[in-house]
């Protein structure tokens, strides 16, 4: 997954982008619960929820194909577990795992693609997520690019000198770790220099408007109703 691409997507303008992060977080959480607990008529329910998310992607004016493809990032992991289930004689559980993980990833992708990271973290903070966890997430996101770039430079430097074999790669990883540690110290010093005393002070929150409340109510109820209707029809 390319974080820079997600960052670009999240800063576009659409009716979904304009909604308060808290409304989108609530909708995504409800969707995840609806998906995770779906049992009867799983295939038609999954198809319905998939179309619901596709509609969300269209409303958010995100590239449908690109988003569907990127949500597949979870598949290598779930396919492994699905294969284990299949070998254990429970193929249906494997199928369920693949469907649920893909739909969950797509829902989360829709949320992060319509909410810039600072707003998303602020939204999580407002609904009571642990501040320390959010701080770590923020730093991870910020410095992922820097560390990735350093790793790419090291890889190029190794390629110029005949390529990176296992031993060299292990050494490079150790150097990368040491550099990251040293950079963490530098960052801490820079934070102290600007008066940091252990607590992040966020900018004021945007108002949670009636439109956000309406959106949250609709986006929370829709997947639930969709599932109930499909389950009833299938029964």
């Amino acid at each position: 997954m390319q974080p820079a691409l997600l960052d670009r997507w999240s800063r576009q303008a659409s009716i979904l982008h304009r909604r308060d992060p808290r409304a989108k977080i609530a909708a995504a959480l409800v969707f995840l619960v609806v998906v995770a607990t779906a049992q009867p008529a799983l295939l038609p329910v999954s198809a319905g929820l998939f179309l619901f998310l596709c509609a969300g992607l269209v409303v958010a004016r995100l590239p449908l194909g690109g988003a569907l493809l990127r949500a597949g990032i979870v598949l290598p992991f779930t396919l492994t577990f699905a294969a284990i289930c299949w070998m254990a004689g429970d193929p249906w559980r494997g199928v369920s795992l693949i469907l649920k993980s893909y739909l969950s990833a797509l829902a989360v992708l829709l949320m992060v693609s319509t909410t810039p990271l600072p707003g998303l973290l602020r939204g999580f903070e407002r609904i009571g997520a642990p501040r320390f966890l959010l701080m770590v997430s923020q730093f991870l996101y910020r410095y992922l690019f820097v560390i990735t770039e350093q790793a790419q430079h090291m890889s190029k430097a190794a390629a110029c000198r005949g390529g990176m074999r296992f031993r060299a790669a292990a050494g490079a990883l150790a150097v990368l770790f040491a550099r990251s540690y040293s950079q963490a110290e530098d960052i801490h010093r820079a934070m102290l220099s600007r008066g940091f005393e252990g607590r992040f002070h966020g900018p004021e929150d945007t108002r949670f408007r009636a439109a956000d409340a309406l959106f949250a109510a609709a986006a929370c109820c829709a997947p639930l109703l969709l599932r109930l209707v499909i389950e009833r029809v299938a029964a």
Binding site: P118, Q138, F145, Q183, M191, L192, G195, P203
Partner: protein, 235 residues
């Protein structure tokens, strides 16, 4: 002219016993710019780390009339703005404006006031257009400017710049020099670039083995220590 910084007989040893500073005496007057020249490992950066209490040695340091003591640290860090060598370590927030607001928010200012100061500081360094951008999208010169804006937003009386021209191309160095000349604060400039120091500084001091061994104009010290002629000599 009034002294804004007075350092007397400063000594420091690292935890492993390595002596780093051996009796530094240094004074900085209001509005003055002083260049700190000297080889790598001569103690310049260690000295800077003492100026806002990131390191603590023996001796006395007075910043704007305040002794370097724990109860004064918050006020001292508001008076001394440190611009670190690697801007990547200094820009840790998700967006440029968030980063510039970090210091004012830590000073206890309201989010609206911090945003106002942040935007004004970005305007001063010519980066107002980048307020909503992520720091990793900026060039090295732009990152340096934003790092300086992050300090200016705190309204310091002294700017401390550690190797500010690192990673900057010649146009970037010229633009930075033009910016720094316009800023009214007293400045301490650590640099290996004697020409850059000459363009900005009223005087210079030369560090050697943790001591200030000479003081005078940049031209005088550069000539005496063959500081900018070494490469030409090697040719």
């Amino acid at each position: 002219m009034k002294a804004v910084l007075e350092v007397r007989n400063l000594h420091f040893r690292y935890a492993d016993g390595t002596p780093a500073l051996n009796g530094i005496d240094f004074t900085l007057a209001e509005g003055e710019t002083v260049a700190l020249l000297g080889a790598n490992g001569s103690g310049k950066t260690t000295f800077l780390m003492h100026l806002n209490g990131l390191l603590t040695g023996e001796g006395s340091i007075q910043v704007c009339g305040m002794a370097m003591e724990k109860p004064n640290l918050r006020a001292i860090r508001a008076k001394i703005g440190m611009v670190f060598q690697d801007s990547e370590s200094q820009l840790f927030m998700p967006t440029v404006l968030d980063d510039v607001m970090f210091g004012p928010l830590n000073q206890g200012r309201s989010a609206a006031e911090a945003a106002k100061r942040g935007r004004a500081a970005l305007e001063t360094v010519g980066m107002a257009h980048a307020a909503g951008r992520a720091p990793y999208h900026l060039s090295a010169g732009e990152k340096k400017r934003v790092a300086i804006a992050g300090i200016l937003a705190m309204d310091p009386e002294i700017l401390v710049l550690d190797e500010p021209t690192t990673f900057l191309d010649p146009p970037g160095q010229r633009a930075l020099a033009d910016l720094l000349v316009r800023l009214p604060q007293a400045k301490i400039l650590v640099t290996h670039d004697a020409r850059f120091a000459q363009a900005l500084s009223h005087r210079a001091v030369f560090f050697q083995s943790g001591k200030i061994v000479a003081e005078g104009s940049v031209e005088e010290l550069a000539r005496r220590f063959a500081w900018d002629l070494e490469m030409e000599g090697a040719r």
